[in-house]
Point group: C2
């Protein structure tokens, strides 16, 4: 396939790389030159800051820019190419497909659910992709995604909101729990690295069983003495104390609910 | 060394196994016969439900039972052996060393920080051990622990409370975030397994950088539109909504605090 990628951030860079690896013909546009350079160097494909220089005869435009400029880039793209038979899809997990509908007949979403770090090599085959669009668009996006990943799902915008919410708990809030843990350890001069084996085991467990069944700790044991004592340690951190209490209550509820 | 292990639960079983592997002479006592059987079969060492049958000339007693019966077992042990020159240590991260002091002169704590599943093979060399006691006890416990693990720290009861609190955030609350994520995914008929690559990447990141620096998501971007929309999705789950809000506020605070 011939694919134009709009954007040169983390997701765009990884996707362009994955598409090239899968044998597609790729061109990349980005507003700024700076982020384009490393992509040009690595992939050797056409990289331009002028949208009108992108190849016209393509199968797909993938808009992969920051959430708050997806709409602007779509407007700009429509200004440059007008109506098109190509598929125009964005990669934003938290945005509806609707904001492309006003300009493009064959619009869609191609959402790779992963936390992308710029210079890190990722195993794309393991990244789940969620696609959305009309039947023909879904077929094409699935085809593109299946070149890259073994795990491709169809999911509409309404359901994708819940997927995104779910990933905020499983990834962003999890990372913040690590940050809180690190902060507490700083106070007793212990490096956060001591937690890594425990963390790895915690994660390892949920590959094989439901996290509900793998819950450990004072809350699930309903050990109120320890919970009280731990909340007392957080007395100078009222917000953390409240988080501790709510999380513990929720753990106990989930246990009863099993 | 000659070590008597009191208890036959997960931690006790793993420790007895690790001690035998390290070449120590081990005997195990447990109140019930049932949990002793698999240990006897696997290790072939003396396993008994009668405390008075344990070898008398030993270097160490390791009390590794549920937190709420450590004190009872210590009392029972004192009743059977009386005053002793052997070291008597418990393995409970959340309990003070003091509850052994009244009976035993050479008391201590040997806390392996890991979440132990019964039938899982663990790499003990990676599990951090935290030891406490007077200088001589610490020396002996360190020696025992260093046979097993590469990561042994001295930490007194007061500081260990914070270590334990830190592990509740990094392990128990993290697992609960996974459980919440799973629950949300159930509603849209997506298996929790789609989250695993994201989770593995999240954990992989914190092996190399501070979790503060690796924070991603709507809160750290201060994307209030998305945060509001996600809290709206949780409107029928007031406690989760509150957790969402507090976690987000804390993420923003940590960012400002950097």
């Amino acid at each position: 396939m011939k694919v134009n990628v709009l954007g040169a951030g983390r997701v765009a860079g990884h996707l362009a790389n994955a598409f090239v690896q899968a044998g597609h013909e790729v061109a990349v546009w980005n507003r700024g030159e700076e982020s384009l350079c490393p992509i040009r160097e690595r992939l050797g494909c056409l990289c331009t800051t002028r949208m009108e220089e992108l190849p016209k005869q393509v199968d797909m435009y993938i808009i992969s820019v920051k959430d708050d400029v997806v709409s602007d880039v779509a407007t700009q793209l429509y200004g440059v190419i007008g109506e098109t038979n190509a598929i125009v899809a964005h990669t934003a997990g938290s945005l509806s497909m609707d904001l492309l509908k006003q300009y493009f007949q064959h619009c869609g979403v191609l959402y790779p659910m992963q936390t992308f770090s710029k210079d890190k090599v990722l195993d794309y085959t393991k990244i789940p992709f969620f696609v959305e669009g009309n039947a023909e668009v879904v077929k094409q996006l699935k085809c593109l995604a299946e070149f890259v990943s073994k795990s491709v799902f169809e999911l509409d915008s309404e359901h994708r909101k819940y997927l995104h919410l779910s990933s905020v708990f499983a990834c962003n809030f999890v990372n913040h729990c690590f940050a809180v843990s690190e902060e507490i350890l700083k106070g007793i001069d212990i490096p956060f690295s001591v937690m890594i084996p425990l963390i790895e085991e915690t994660v390892d467990k949920v590959s094989g069983m439901s996290p509900r069944d793998g819950q450990t700790g004072p809350a699930v044991r309903e050990d109120h003495n320890i919970m009280e004592a731990q909340m007392e340690l957080l007395k100078d951190e009222p917000r953390l104390k409240q988080i501790y209490q709510l999380m513990s209550e929720n753990i106990i509820d989930y246990k009863k609910d099993k």
